[in-house]
Amino acid sequence: MHPNETAIHDYVDDVLELRERTELERHLAGCSQCRRLVDDLREIRKAFGGLKDDLREPPVRAWARLERAIRLESESRSTHNLQGRGGSRTAPTLSLRSMSWLGAAAVLILATVVGLQFRAGRRATPTSSTSTPGASVAAGDAAQAVEAELRAAEEHYTKAITGLEQITKTEQGALDPGTAATLQKNLAVIDQAISESRAALRTQPASEPAQESLMESFKAKIALLQDTVALINEMRKGNDAGAARIVSGLKPKGN
């Protein structure tokens, strides 16, 4: 008879008592099936344990997004302080030239964050506290709530995209033609995905994959537009290294 699952895993984790370990090893000596299981589990343990220090670098845009959010927060805190009691502050300042569109971008990003609240997990738990006893009525309410939430999220995304597009359009002259072409190509691929998701939702409004796909496409478009804003920002600051890092992340899509 084979040892139970717990004993095998505890053996692999090296937490088995000596007596049990000896017994299990005796079994392993004569059972190739269990030996193989132990070998596989050890390999999994070793491989995944090795991932601990195998780190992923976050995308370049991550800091640019964070910095904008921080600066916006500092700005609003500063305004609040100045209005309140005129206290001093140490928040950094930006050049006036870049301030207006950077501020606009930050506001749009905040709008995006609101849009991102449309996450699958939330849809799995429609509120039922006010629902009527009829199950079909409750299901109908839940479906309507999901659709309303989807519409709200789409509206937020669309607003954010429109604003970011305006910024990138007016500032795109700062980009070299090759980079601009790559950006346009990537945007076209994402726009195609948005169109297809919308078409799918028109025929099947309750389709979760189509809803997810639409949200993911919006998210991808916003991320790309944010990269573009970050790139323009780096170029304005004369930070060639920062700009190069962002450009290296703008790989052509759809090939």
Partner: protein, 200 residues
């Protein structure tokens, strides 16, 4: 120490030692002081020292790079807001790691309903086709992809135990589950991974 439900001390992984190489305690101290004074350039340095560690954890706990990036943003924005209250009773890296882990766990918990749904779906379908025979060690990309395909619930327990190195008692406390449940979730994850990465 008073609250019984308090989370256990979180051992910071060895990465911190690597990060700190070349930076003295005085450097780190100075960096923290500047961050606490609202110096965004200093905060950027802190971000660059620790972002990869936090992002990697967030991707693995969240189950996708998209979630990882969102979580990274939220964690560092929270760190920026809270660093003023950092009391230096631990290394700043440990403090950040705790903040990140707590944030990831909160996010994971908020997806509980979705979790069970997804777990059922993945249990029901036969999406774990064995991979082709390999004679070489498992590639990192295959590992990351396999992690992303683990059902919610068992992925977090597996990442905390087999990747981050917590024991089952700690995993149970972190996830708010029994030690035995942590074990069964990790065993389940390993079985799924074995099917995903199987050598025939």
């Amino acid at each position: 120490m008073a609250a019984p439900k308090q989370r256990p001390p979180i051992p910071f992984p060895s990465k911190e030692a690597k990060v700190s190489q070349g930076a003295t305690h005085a450097d780190t101290d100075d960096l923290v002081t500047r961050c606490q004074a609202g110096d965004v350039d200093a905060f950027e340095m802190l971000y660059r020292q620790h972002a990869a560690r936090i992002y990697t954890l967030a991707c693995r706990m969240g189950g996708s790079v998209e979630d990882g990036e969102d979580l990274l943003q939220e964690i560092f924005l929270q760190a920026y807001r809270k660093i003023g209250s950092f009391k230096r009773d631990a290394a700043v890296g440990t403090w950040l790691y705790r903040l990140a882990l707590n944030h990831c766990l909160d996010y994971v918990r908020s997806r509980q309903a979705k979790m069970s749904k997804l777990t059922e779906t993945l249990d029901a379908e036969t999406s774990f086709e064995p991979m082709a025979r390999r004679e070489t060690p498992i590639a990192r990309m295959d590992l990351e992809r396999a992690l992303e395909r683990l059902p919610e619930g068992c992925r977090e327990a597996f990442v905390l135990h087999d990747v981050e190195g917590f024991d089952h008692k700690e995993v149970g406390e972190l996830l708010g589950i029994a030690e035995g449940t942590s074990k069964s979730q990790v065993f389940k994850a390993r079985a799924k991974l074995r099917a995903l990465l199987r050598r025939n």
